[in-house]
Symmetry: C3
Subunit: 321 residues, 3 copies
C-alpha cells in the first residue's frame, strides 16, 4: 500500500489533492476502488466512464471525460507515468527470510537440488525435480510434475495434474515498457502473476509471462509444445493446443479448443473464437469471431483461400496468368 502522494511523486505528476491510499495499478476495466489506472488510447474512453479506479493518469484533452468521483492525474504522457509508478508495487525479488517454510503435501517428492522458496504451497503426490525453481508464494496443485530446470516465478499458480517440462519458464516479466520522447524505455513492472489450471502440459523451454496487472491465464486441459511464447495477460481457453514455436503477444484471448499451428503467431489484444484452427505459420492480426473455421497465411485468410491463392501464384510463376 502506498499513498497517492508517493505515487504522483515517483511518477512526476503534479497533484495537490488529498492523499488517499493506493493498493495497486490496473486497467480501467479491471481496476477496483483504491487502484490507479490510465487512459492512453482514446478508443478506451468508454472504459473511463465505467471504471472503479480511484485515480486515473490521463492526457489533458481527455481529462474532461474523467468522472467526478475519480481523481484525474493529468499529464501529456499517461502511459509513461503509469510505468514510473509501477515500480512502487513491484514485489520483492528475493524470498522473504521471515516467510513460512514451504507447505508440502503428502506423497510429494522434492529432489535434492530442487529450489522451493518460502511461502510456497505444494500439493500432494507432486514431483519437483533437481534444478526446478518454485518461487516465493507460488502454489502447485496435486499430482503435478515440475521437471528439472523448469522455473515458476513467485506468486504463480499451477493446477493439479500438470506437467511443466525442463527449461519452461512460468511467470517471467511481460514485455512492458513506456518509451520516452528521447527514445529511452521505462519498465512497467509486471506485478500480476500466471494462473495455470488443471491438466495442463507445458513443453520444454516455453515461456508464459506474468501479467502486468491481474493474471495471465492458461485454462484447463491446455497443451503447449516446446519453445512457445505466451505474452502477458493472455487467456488461453480450455483444451487449446499450441504447437512448437508459436506465439501469442500480450493480452490476446483464445477461446476453448483453439489450435495454433507450428510457428503461427497472434498479435496482441485479439479475441479468437472457440474451436478455431490456425495452420502452421498463420499470422493473426485481427479478432476471429466465428467458431470452427480453419485459417492460414499472413495476412490471415481462410486456409482454403490461402491454398487457392498459392495455386494462383504458382500459375503466375509459370507465366500463365
Amino acid at each position: 500500500m502506498v499513498t497517492l502522494e508517493e505515487l504522483t511523486d515517483i511518477a512526476g505528476v503534479r497533484y495537490d489533492g488529498v492523499s488517499i491510499d493506493i493498493s495497486g495499478l490496473n486497467t480501467l476495466r479491471d481496476a477496483k476502488k483504491g487502484e490507479v489506472s490510465f487512459l492512453e488510447n482514446k478508443k478506451y474512453v468508454n472504459d473511463l466512464l465505467s471504471t472503479h479506479a480511484s485515480a486515473v493518469f490521463v492526457s489533458p484533452d481527455m481529462a474532461v471525460h474523467v468522472p467526478k468521483d475519480i481523481i484525474a492525474l493529468v499529464d501529456e504522457e499517461p502511459y509513461l507515468k503509469l510505468a514510473l509508478a509501477s515500480k512502487l508495487f513491484a514485489p520483492p525479488v528475493m524470498e522473504d527470510e521471515g516467510a513460512a517454510e514451504p507447505q508440502v503435501g503428502e506423497g510429494t517428492e522434492i529432489a535434492a537440488g530442487a529450489m522451493v522458496c518460502r511461502g510456497s504451497i505444494i500439493g500432494k503426490n507432486c514431483y519437483i525435480l533437481p534444478g526446478a525453481y518454485i518461487g516465493p508464494n507460488a502454489v502447485i496443485g496435486d499430482n503435478t510434475i515440475i521437471y528439472a530446470n523448469a522455473t515458476v516465478y513467485r506468486d504463480c499458480v499451477v493446477g493439479s495434474n500438470c506437467m511443466i517440462h525442463s527449461g519452461a519458464v512460468v511467470g517471467s516479466d511481460g514485455f512492458g515498457f513506456a518509451t520516452t520522447r528521447t527514445g529511452t524505455h521505462v519498465k512497467i513492472y509486471q506485478n500480476g502473476n500466471v494462473v495455470i489450471e488443471d491438466d495442463v502440459e507445458i513443453g520444454s523451454n516455453s515461456t508464459v509471462d506474468r501479467a502486468a496487472f491481474g493474471s495471465t491465464l492458461i485454462k484447463q486441459g491446455v497443451r503447449i509444445d516446446n519453445l512457445v511464447q505466451i505474452g502477458h495477460n493472455c487467456v488461453v481457453g480450455e483444451y487449446s493446443v499450441l504447437v512448437s514455436q508459436s506465439g501469442l503477444a500480450g493480452s490476446t484471448e483464445l477461446g476453448r479448443n483453439v489450435v495454433m499451428g507450428g510457428q503461427s503467431a497472434a498479435a496482441g489484444h485479439l479475441k479468437i473464437a472457440p474451436f478455431t484452427q490456425f495452420a502452421a505459420r498463420a499470422g493473426i492480426t485481427n479478432d476471429v469471431k466465428e467458431s470452427h473455421k480453419v485459417y492460414g497465411g499472413f495476412p490471415l485468410m481462410e486456409q482454403r483461400s490461402w491454398l487457392k491463392l498459392q495455386a494462383k501464384l504458382a500459375r503466375i510463376l509459370k507465366g500463365k496468368s
Copy 2:
C-alpha cells in the same frame, strides 16, 4: 511388463481372450512380439499385415484385416485407447534410490551443483557444469561437455565429443496426445528416448523431444544452433545443420548433410533427401526425394523459383503485371 488384461482394462477396451504378457507399445512397423500396436490411419493398413505386434488396437471396419495370429482389440477410437494404455509403460519420474551410483569415467569433472542421477553412465574426460541435469540411466560418451543448466532426461544417450549448451533440453516429452470426442486430450506417454551420436553440438535452449516409442535420433556430426525444435521420433542425418529457430515436427527424417535455414520448419512424417538445403523460412510439407537441391518459400519450391516469383510479385506491386 503388464498383462493384456491390465492394458485393456486401463484402455477401456473389451477383451475376453487369454491374458498374455505385454512388454510395451510400438508402431506397427517397429513392434516386436509381446508389444501392442494400433491402426488409426487406413493408409498404414499394409503395416498391419506385416507387423510383429502381438495385439493391435483397431477400428471395427479394419478388424477384418488383422492377421489371424494377432489379437485384435477392436474400438472406435484406437488411437485414444493407445493413449490410455501408454501410461502403463511410463518410466518413473524420479530416480530410483536403490539404483547404482553414477558410473563416471576417468578424467571427467562434475562441477558442484551439477545433478547426476543414479543409474547414469558418464564416459571419460567429460565436463558436467553446474546446474546441468543428467537423468536416471542416461549415458554420456567420452570428452563430452554438458554446459550449465542443460538438461538430459532419463534414459537418453549422448555420444562422445558432443557439446550440449546451456538451457538445451534433450529428452523432454514429445507432443503426443489423443483428443476425445468432447475435445479433451489424453496424453500419450513418451516412453522412448533420444539417442545423440558422436560429434554433435546442440545450441542453447534448443529442444530435442524423446520418442513416443523407440528413439529420436541425432546422427553423427550434426550441428544444431540455438532455439531449434526437434520433435519426437525424428531422425536427423549425419552432418546436418539446423540454423537457429528452425523446427522439425514429429517423425520427420532428414538425410545426411541437410541444411535447415533459420526459422525454416518441416511438418511431421516427412523424408528429406540427403544434401538438401532449405533457405531461411522454408516451410516443408512434402517429402523431398531428389538430393542436392535448394528450396525455399512456403509453400515450398525450388529457391530459384521462389526468387523468380518474388520478382514477379514486385512487378505486380508496381502495377506492371
Copy 3:
C-alpha cells in the same frame, strides 16, 4: 599464448619460417599485432591490405596480395585452417580452482543454489537467484538481477541495472564451423565474449551468443523479449527493441532504437540504420541505410508496399486481376 609453429602444426599448414608468438585469432579488420587472421572471401581483400595481423591464412591465388611484413599461411582452405587453429585459444571449460573467490559488492544477495564461479566480479545491490550460473571471470554491474536458472557464460560482461530473466543464456558458443570437402564440420571455437551494457532487459529463454573473436555487444537500454536469438558478433544499438521469437544471425549490427517485430529475423553481416522498424515476420537480407522507415515482408519491402501487395493478392484471389 602459442607459437606460430604450434598453430600451423594443428592447422596442418606448411610453414618453414621463424616461429613468432601468437596471442589469438581475429578478423582482418580487428586483428592486432601478434594475432593470426584469414582471408576466405575475396571481397575482403582490401582488409588484407590494411590488417595489423602478424600472419594470415590465405588461398594460393590470394597470397600475392598479402603485404610483405605479414606472414602468409597458404592453403586451399583458409577458413578450415582457422577453424583447426581456433581450438588452441579456447578458454578452459571449468573454473580454475586456483582463481580468486568471486568479488561481491555490498548489498548483493546471492541465493542458496546460485552458482557463482571463481574469478567473477559482481557489483553492488545485485540479486542472483537460485540456479543462476555466473561463469568464471564474468562481470556483473550494480543493481542487476539474474533470475533463477539464467546462465552467464565465462568472461561475459553484464552492465548495471540489467535484468536477465530465467532460462536466458548469455555467452553460449556462436554457430561457427568450417565444413570440409567431405561434408564434416570443424568447430570454430568461440573465444570472444558478450558485453551487455547498462539498463538492458533480456527475456526468458533468449540466447545471446558469444563472439568468435572480440565481443557480441548489446548496448545501453536494449529490451529483448522471450525466445529471441542474437548471433555471435552482433551489435544491438542503444534502446533497440527485439520482440519475442525474433532473431539476428551472426555479425549483424542494429543502429539505435531499431525495432524487430515478433518472429522477424535478419540474415548475418548486415547493417541496419538507426530508428528502423521491422514489422512482425519481416525477413531482412540486405542492409538498411536510411533511418526512420518501417519495413515488413519477406523479401523485405517498405511496410506500406507490403500492405499494398497483399491487397493486390487479395484481388488476384478473387479473380479480379
